[in-house]
Amino acid sequence: MLHLVVCIKQVPDSREIRIDPKTNTLVRLGVPAIINYYDLHGLEEALRLKDEFGARVTVVSMGPPSAEKALRQCVSMGADEAVLVSDRAFAGADTLATSYVVALTIQKVEERWGTVDIVFCGKQTLDGDTGQVGPGVACRLDIDQLTYVEKLESLDLETREVTVHRHLEDGVERVKARLPVLITALAELNRPRRASLPGILRAARYQPIVWTTNDFPTIDRAKIGLRGSPTIVSKTWVPEPKQVQTEWLPSEDSAAAATALLDHLYSTDLPQKLGWA
């Protein structure tokens, strides 16, 4: 049976994060925790493959104990098992230290439930915005990576080949790769389903599997958490764009405002720069 692993992260809903204008610091209080939404697109694609071919879907996440809630949500949508790796020793991890722990976790998942065929990740997280953990995990597991996937065109279980469409700046690339692969999902990939009633009932009783550093006998403690992270944040600040003097144009009459604006623009070097002259 196909074995699909989906990596998810619980993140603060970035749309709700504000800067305190007095202190120039982040206001995190009361910011809701959500599943990084690109990860949900990865989960949905795994569930679609499960519907079509039959598959075991295992969800993994690294995070604090409160992330169990996010894992239950995945179970309510149709995931078979959910694993949380949680330990204070993992705190402060950058993308390199995170990909180490996530890759170790997937290896342990493979020992328990069989070799993985496809690992799904979101294209990036809302809080980190780096898109580096997916490639890092693929690299550590020594499997091919297909990043920024907007369509999974076909999966051939006979030849063990998957064909996807990768979104690039200037177009779309069709790529065929041999399983096992890691796919990072774009929002265009699909529309995540709602939890079903049986799913909700199962999730209510489901206890996610929790692993700590003690569950990884071979873990190298120099490679996890803050200590295992080569990058450090030396400072943060709120950017202050340069302000300019604004010329206000009369706006009682739209046509007059439009004409006034064009007159102003035509009096500058803009028409020349744009080749309108």
Binding site: G131, P135, C139, V172, A258, Y266
Partner: protein, 367 residues
């Protein structure tokens, strides 16, 4: 069924720790069909400054097939030495073969800093290489500098773009960063500059090329904000996706592109490719018209280098006006169509500007 490739996981790989030989700033040039991405030359421009400060050579790495011309171009754009790896197997970007070349060059020639464009391919490649080495990698930098200890100071948007963070990597070399397109300026192309060209043997392992690029369909619909001279951008004030058609009409009249704020993109009113802002596209058009955009810091930082900025908003207190050369307070549903019509009339009819021309105000921020 085909034979499955034997996996060789590299979890727990150790790295050597003598970094004293690492010198030079390297830019990995990204290309498609022999044409470089603009961000590659922009990065060479910025990296030239860093290399001069470090008194180190500026290096470029060109990977592809039939890309000798690009190696010379890299020299014209500022590189002192260009490593070139040219092979039919490298015609299209694929993670494994390209990684292998980069890793070979990094281990062989030991640059202290490696920079790539924060493009889809650049982020794909950088993430793989940094894990292999291993080293620290900063994504999507919008400011780069070096300090007295030869540390790369890579600054990037953080906390959903509301702040900037400076990130360092002290323990490992090379220090790596991807950097956003449109932020840095390329040096003027100069054919008098010549670079030393070093040919790198292809590092092809048949196992690496199991992934096949079946084809590439160029999107004609796709927006190109980075190179646009005129951008008409919309935000939450548009009230819904429909009003973007009005912006499109104005953009077409001006020969420009349609942009959007993160708010409008997050609401699903328009695709991510249209997003202006630090983690969208950083733009520097000659004319930027912000319609119904309040002017959140992350948006303004992404467009503040436009030559002329016009803001149209019904709220005269909106922060966007503080950054605009020209402000119109009013109903965008009236003003935008009127402006489109006026532009068409003036550009097609060859009408001379009517009305009294006011002298160029101090508000203009001409280059």
């Amino acid at each position: 069924m085909a034979e499955e490739r034997k996996r060789k996981p590299m979890i727990g790989l150790q790295s050597d720790t003598d970094w004293s030989e690492y010198r030079g700033v390297m830019v990995v040039v990204e290309q498609r069909a022999g044409v470089a991405k603009a961000v590659s030359w922009q990065l060479l421009g910025e990296a030239r400054r860093l290399a001069d400060k470090l008194e180190s050579p500026l290096l470029a790495l060109v990977i592809g097939h039939q890309v000798q011309g690009l190696a010379r171009e890299a020299g014209y754009h500022g590189a002192d030495r260009v490593y070139i790896c040219d092979s039919p197997e490298l015609a299209s970007y694929r993670t494994r073969p390209y990684s292998r070349v980069c890793l070979y060059v990094i281990r062989e020639y030991k640059p202290e800093i490696v920079l790539m464009g924060a493009t889809y391919a650049g982020r794909d490649l950088a993430g793989a290489i940094a894990t292999h080495l291993p080293t620290g990698l900063t994504a999507d930098s919008t400011q780069l500098d070096v300090d007295d200890e030869r540390l790369l100071l890579a600054s990037r948007p953080a906390f959903s773009e509301k702040m900037l963070a400076t990130i360092l990597c002290k323990q490992f070399k090379p220090q790596m960063a991807t950097a956003r397109a449109g932020v840095f300026e390329a040096l003027p192309r100069d054919e008098a500059r010549s670079a030393e060209i070093v040919v790198v043997p292809p590092q092809i392992d048949p196992e690496d090329i199991s992934t096949q690029v079946l084809g590439f369909v160029e999107s004609l619909e796709r927006v190109n904000l980075e190179d646009a001279d005129v951008i008409v951008a919309g935000g939450r004030g548009l009230g819904g996706p429909g009003a973007f058609s009005l912006l499109k009409e104005l953009a077409d009249a001006l020969g420009g592109e349609v942009g959007a704020s993160r708010a409008a993109v997050d609401l699903g009113w328009i695709g991510h490719d249209h997003q202006v802002g630090q983690t969208g596209t950083t733009v520097r058009p000659k004319l930027y018209i912000a319609v119904g955009i309040s002017g959140a810091v992350q948006h303004v930082v992404g467009m503040q280098n436009s030559t002329y900025i016009v803001a149209i908003n019904k709220d005269s207190e909106a922060p966007i006006f503080r950054f605009a050369n020209y402000g119109i307070k009013g109903d965008l549903f009236q003003i935008v169509p009127a402006l489109a019509q006026a532009v068409r009339a003036r550009r097609s009819g060859g009408l001379s500007p009517e009305g009294v021309l006011e002298p160029m105000s101090a508000a203009g921020r001409g280059e």
